[in-house]
């Protein structure tokens, strides 16, 4: 018998009726679009994903909603099934519900969808996200981010902000790895180079250099202004179904080969090692399930709200030696044309931080790459296996989805 994790359960076999498949994606450009309404964007990406899947709206029986962060009323509209009505699914949809684990919500929603499909409780699932984070008042959003995920009795009184969280992680990562400010800045530049190939990216038209990053103001040492994610409006949707249905309507689709995760803290002050988090444990679980390892990965999409976050994610998931990810970014390994294309949509740092949607956009980009549908030079030739890494809150969890391309 091969060694397995004691909690590992049998995973659906590729192509079985219980095997979940991504068959459709829809996305709108990220950035600041004052005239684009929240519900209009949500309906548009939902329609695009459903059409892309080769389905009609009435085929969708379950809607999993990714939360929006820009306002409570729109959030309430989501929870109370407005999208069902907007899509004309009233009287047809079995359930509409919100899944929420912050930045890792797309990983959580994917797991929920896969479980519902595998157990026969859903057939065609729409996962939909929209946010107007870039158009919301910046001060309100900064105050919100400084009050969410930071214990109000114990750490808010110390003045912790979200950028301070990024500063604490980055400082420890640089200390542990010996990475230089130039190497950290090169991560932002690599992501910008990808964004310039993505028509949906917020910063598709703006070149970035290490010098410009390091010349920008210090926000929360050692994090500079241009190393902080820019809040953006965005919308993305995915459709999942069973492999049985996928085979009926598609020549190629994307399956989940394995998943792993660890929730490591609520308060960042309780995290044992800010340079590592819990990526290694999450990765071992996922690779074990998939039966393939980091050396077989063609493309990686790992959460990157700060440069250190993607660096430690890549290391913990075995995609770079510990302490070497920033140096390998500087050497071009993760850039366009590099050995392991990473965050090929430009990531949160350059495609835009669309709230909970940043992780959803990375997931959609992973699926898009495996379907061979990224635009032009962004497409990774022959991409068959992808790693998706997500994390939410103050990097409270490390979530991994291993995806693979399947053809009929």
């Amino acid at each position: 018998m091969t060694a397995t994790l004691e909690h590992a359960l049998p995973f659906p076999e590729a192509g079985s009726a219980a095997d979940a498949a991504f068959i459709g994606i829809g996305e709108l450009p990220s950035g600041r679009f004052a005239d684009r309404t929240f519900m209009g964007a949500l309906v548009e990406v939902s329609a695009r994903a459903i059409i892309d899947a080769g389905l009609r709206p009435r085929d969708i029986d379950t809607i999993l909603l990714i939360p929006c962060l820009h306002g409570g009323r729109d959030q309430a509209d989501l929870i109370f099934s407005r999208l069902v009505e907007e899509l004309g699914l009233n009287g047809r949809a079995k359930s509409s519900m919100m899944i929420h684990s912050g930045g890792s919500t797309s990983d959580s929603a994917t797991r929920v969808a896969a479980g519902l499909i595998a157990s026969g409780q859903a057939h065609n699932v729409l996962i939909a996200q929209a946010d107007r984070w870039g158009s919301a008042p910046v001060t309100d959003m900064v105050d919100m981010l400084s009050g969410f995920g930071i214990p109000r009795e114990w750490e808010v009184p110390a003045g912790v902000t979200f950028n301070a969280v990024g500063g604490l992680i980055t400082r420890r990562y640089m200390h542990a790895s010996g990475s230089t400010p130039e190497e950290m800045a090169s991560i932002c530049v690599a992501l910008r180079d990808w964004a310039r190939l993505n028509p949906n990216a917020m910063f598709k038209d703006k070149e970035l250099t290490v010098e410009r990053v390091l010349a920008s103001k210090m926000v929360a040492d050692p994090v500079h202004a241009m190393e902080c994610p820019m809040l953006a409006d965005g919308a993305v949707a995915l459709v999942m179904t069973s492999a049985t249905q996928a085979r009926r309507s598609k020549d190629a689709w994307v399956r989940i080969a394995g998943s792993g995760g660890t929730v490591s803290h609520y308060s960042l002050g309780q995290e044992a090692d800010l340079a590592v988090m819990n990526w290694p444990r999450a990765g071992v679980e996922a690779y074990e399930q998939a039966g393939w390892g980091p050396e077989e990965v063609d493309v990686a999409q790992v959460y990157d709200s700060y440069a250190a976050v993607v660096a430690q994610g890549l290391e913990g998931l075995g995609l770079a030696p510990f302490g070497e990810a920033a140096r390998q970014f500087a050497a071009g390994r993760f850039s366009p044309g590099g050995e392991l294309p990473t965050n090929t949509n430009g990531g949160l740092l350059s495609a835009g931080h669309t709230g909970v949607g940043g992780g959803t956009a990375l997931l959609a980009e992973g699926v898009r790459q495996l379907l061979g549908r990224a635009e032009g030079a962004r497409q990774v030739d022959g991409a068959a296996r992808a790693v998706i890494g997500g994390t939410g809150g103050t990097y409270m969890d490390s979530q991994v989805m291993l995806l693979e391309r399947v053809t009929r």
């Binding site: 001060t139 900064v142 105050d143 400084s146 009050g147 214990p151 109000r152 009795e153 114990w154 750490e155 808010v156 009184p157 110390a158 003045g159 912790v160 902000t161 950028n163 301070a164 500063g167 604490l168 992680i169 980055t170 400082r171 420890r172 200390h175 542990a176 103001k217 210090m218 926000v219 929360a220 040492d221 050692p222 994090v223 202004a225 308060s267 960042l268 002050g269 309780q270 995290e271 044992a272 800010l274």
Partner: protein, 138 residues
């Protein structure tokens, strides 16, 4: 402006110690496990028999940052300030404020450097109930 006051059975004792110049940490009456931040049950043995013990406040600095731009409006900070995560020698770890040096900077702090609890006065604690730390030599 002050932070939103959140007083309950756990914060009352902890904030009172800080105002009195002491760092109290929670200790389990059944297994002696020390806990920070304070919880409703012991995270080791699940007991609710929890009390307080004064800590020496000595520890190592796991990481720190200096907040320069974009402090929360309600925090009411004028200039830059520093926060750090301290691993106390007694076991638990916690997040607190860091005193600047005489030159007004935090240049003398380093990851894994030694720090010690050095309390703020009662007025500051009334405004922002946080534990403050300094380097051992300063």
């Amino acid at each position: 402006m002050t932070s939103e006051p959140i007083m309950h059975d756990l914060t009352v004792d902890y904030y009172a110690s800080l105002a009195d110049g002491r760092l109290s940490v929670q200790q389990c009456g059944d297994c002696d496990h020390r806990i920070m931040y304070p919880r409703y049950r012991c995270t080791e043995c699940f007991s609710s028999n929890l009390g307080w013990v004064d800590d020496t406040g000595e520890g190592t600095l796991h990481s720190f940052t200096i907040q320069r731009i974009g402090a929360p409006t309600e925090f009411g900070a004028d200039g830059p300030y520093a926060v750090g995560i301290v691993k106390l020698d007694s076991g638990p770890q916690m997040l607190g404020r860091l005193w600047p040096g005489e030159d007004g900077t935090w240049d003398h702090y380093a990851c894994d450097g030694r720090v010690v609890f050095r309390p703020a006065d009662a007025d500051e604690i009334a405004e922002h109930p946080a534990a403050w730390f300094a380097t051992v030599s300063s």
